[in-house]
Amino acid sequence: MKEYLVFNAFGAFAVKDKKVLEHKFFKDLKNPIKEIKELYEKYPDSVFENREIAERLNAKHEFPNEGGIFLRDNIDSIMKLDNEYYINLVKEKIKKASESKDKVIIQAVQALEQVDQSLNFFFERLREWYGLYFPELCDRIENHAEFAGIVKNEERKEKSMGADLEDTDIEMMKSFADKTLEMYNFREELVRYIKENIEKLTPNLSNLINPLLVAKLISLAGSFKNLAMLPASTIQVLGAEPALFRHLRKGAKPPKHGIIFQDPRIHTAPRWQRGKIARSMASKIAIAARLDFYSGEFDESVSEAFEIRLDAIRRKYKERPKKRR
C-alpha cells in the first residue's frame, strides 16, 4: 500500500490505506512548506498530489491520487472548514493582479478613447453655440483647439451676421470654451503618460509602431501576456471583430486590418498594398510582443526587417493590379 502526503488549506496529512497516519496543521497559513517538509521527512516514500510542491521537494507526484481523494471525501470528519482563509487568499490575488502595469495602462487607454470622444462632442457643441454670436469665426478657424482659445480670450470686433447677445450669454460660452480646453490639455498629459509607460514596458513594440497603438493593442488583447500569446493572424484583425465575424458567419470578405490600420504606413498606402503591409506588420508585432514579454531585451532587427519588407512591397506592387475577370 502506497503512502500519500496530501494537504489542504489548513494542514498536511500523511495518508495510507484510507487512514490518516499523522497530520500537522499549518502554524502560518501563508507559509505551509515547513510542516509539509517535516511530515515528508518522516514519510519519505510518500506521493504528492501537488506538482509544484512535489517538484520543490523532489518527491513523487500523481494527480489525482488515493490520498487526496480520501482527504477530499472526509474533510468534515477531520476538521472544521472556515471560508475566511479563502476570502483573504482571493483578496491577495486580486491585489497582485491589479498591480501589473498593463492593467493600469489599459484603463488609461480606455480613458483616452472616451476623452477623445467627449472632446469631439464638446468642440462641436462650442462651434454651434458660439456660431449664433460669431458665425464668421467658426467658418474661418478649422482647428478645434485654436478656435476654443479664441473664444475664450478674444472679443468680437468686426461687424458680424451673428446675433448681438447679452454679456451673460457670452460669458457662459467662454466658460465652456475654457473647460473644454482644460480637458484638451489633460488629454495631452494623458497621451504623454501612456507613451512613457508603454515605452518602458514594451521597448521592441514601441520601436516598431506608435506606442499609443501598442497600448490600444494590449487593451484589445486584454493584457500584455495575452497579446504576447496571440498569433499574428489574430493581431492583424484585432479591433475588426464585427467584420471578422461577418466573414466567418456569412462568408463576407475577410477584414485586412483591425486597429493596426491606424499606423500611417498602412492607411496612407495604396489600397492594394494595405493587406500585404498589414500581414507583415502583424507578424512583426507578434514577434516583438513575445520579445518584450518574455525577454525584455531590445532588438533593433525586428523593426529593420519590417522596413525592408515594407520597401519590397512598395516596389513590387507599385502598380494597381488589373481587375481579374
Binding site: 496530501v6 498530489e49 487526496g68 479563502y86 483578496k91 486580486i94
Partner: protein, 209 residues
C-alpha cells in the same frame, strides 16, 4: 426541490442571510420565512427550472463545486439552497470575483477560489469531493473543462452550454448535439433543456455519474 418555492410563475430561494439582497432582487415573506426572487434573466439555473427541469438534486447539506462563479448571482442562490453544505466557487477573472468575495463574507457556506478551471490540480487542495458540479463557463472547451473536474464528483451535475462561445459559425442545435455526445461518454444525461426566452442559444444538461 428544497428551499425553493414557486409562486405565480416565479421562483424564490429561502434567504440564508435575512434582510440582505445580493443584486437588489425582491424579498418576500412566505409562511414566516424570507425568500429571494430568483431572476431567470440573470441566472441560467433559474431559467432551467422555469423551463421545466424536473429535479434539481441539491439537498440542504450538499457540497457543490461551482465552476464559472462570476460575480456570484447564481452561486448565492445555490448557497441559499444548500444552507448547511458548501459551495466552492471557482472563477478566473479578478474583476468578476471582486463582487463574489463581498458576497462570501456574508455567506459562510461560500468558498471563493481565484483559479483557472482548466487546471483542477491548482485548487485540489482547496476543495473536497462534491455531490454536485455546476458549470457555466462561456469557453470553447467548456465541456472538456467539466470532464476534467469530474474527478471531484460523487453524484450529479449540470452544464450550461453557450453555443455562441463554442463556435459562432455552426448552428446551435449542432453544437448542443455534439457537446451532449461528449457528456454521454462520461455521464448519464438525465435532462436536456433550452433556455429560451431567458437566454439565447443556450442549452442546459443535467447529468449523473
Amino acid at each position: 426541490m428544497e428551499n425553493i418555492i414557486k409562486k405565480d410563475e416565479r421562483i424564490y430561494t429561502k434567504n440564508l442571510v435575512p434582510r440582505e439582497t445580493v443584486y437588489n432582487e425582491k424579498l418576500i415573506k412566505f409562511e414566516g420565512m424570507e425568500y429571494r426572487y430568483w431572476d431567470p434573466f440573470r441566472s441560467k439555473l433559474s431559467a432551467a427550472i422555469l423551463n421545466g427541469l424536473h429535479d434539481l438534486p441539491l439537498k440542504k447539506n450538499s457540497k457543490v463545486l461551482y465552476l464559472g462563479a462570476a460575480s456570484g448571482t447564481t452561486p448565492s442562490h445555490v448557497s441559499d439552497i444548500v444552507e448547511n453544505g458548501r459551495v466552492y466557487c471557482v472563477e478566473f477573472s479578478p474583476r468578476a470575483i471582486r463582487k463574489l468575495v463581498n458576497i462570501c463574507e456574508k455567506r459562510k457556506n461560500m468558498f471563493p477560489i481565484l483559479e483557472d478551471a482548466n487546471y483542477p490540480e491548482r485548487y485540489a487542495h482547496l476543495i473536497e469531493n462534491v455531490d454536485f458540479i455546476y458549470q457555466d463557463i462561456a469557453q470553447p472547451n467548456q465541456t472538456e473543462i467539466l470532464i476534467k473536474n469530474s474527478i471531484f464528483l460523487k453524484g450529479y451535475g449540470a452544464l450550461c452550454i453557450k453555443a455562441r462561445s463554442i463556435d459562432v459559425t455552426l448552428h446551435p442545435e449542432k453544437i448542443f448535439k455534439r457537446e451532449k455526445k461528449k457528456l454521454e461518454e462520461h455521464f448519464e444525461v438525465l435532462e436536456s433543456l433550452r433556455l429560451e426566452p431567458y437566454a439565447k442559444d443556450h442549452a442546459f444538461f443535467l447529468f449523473k455519474q
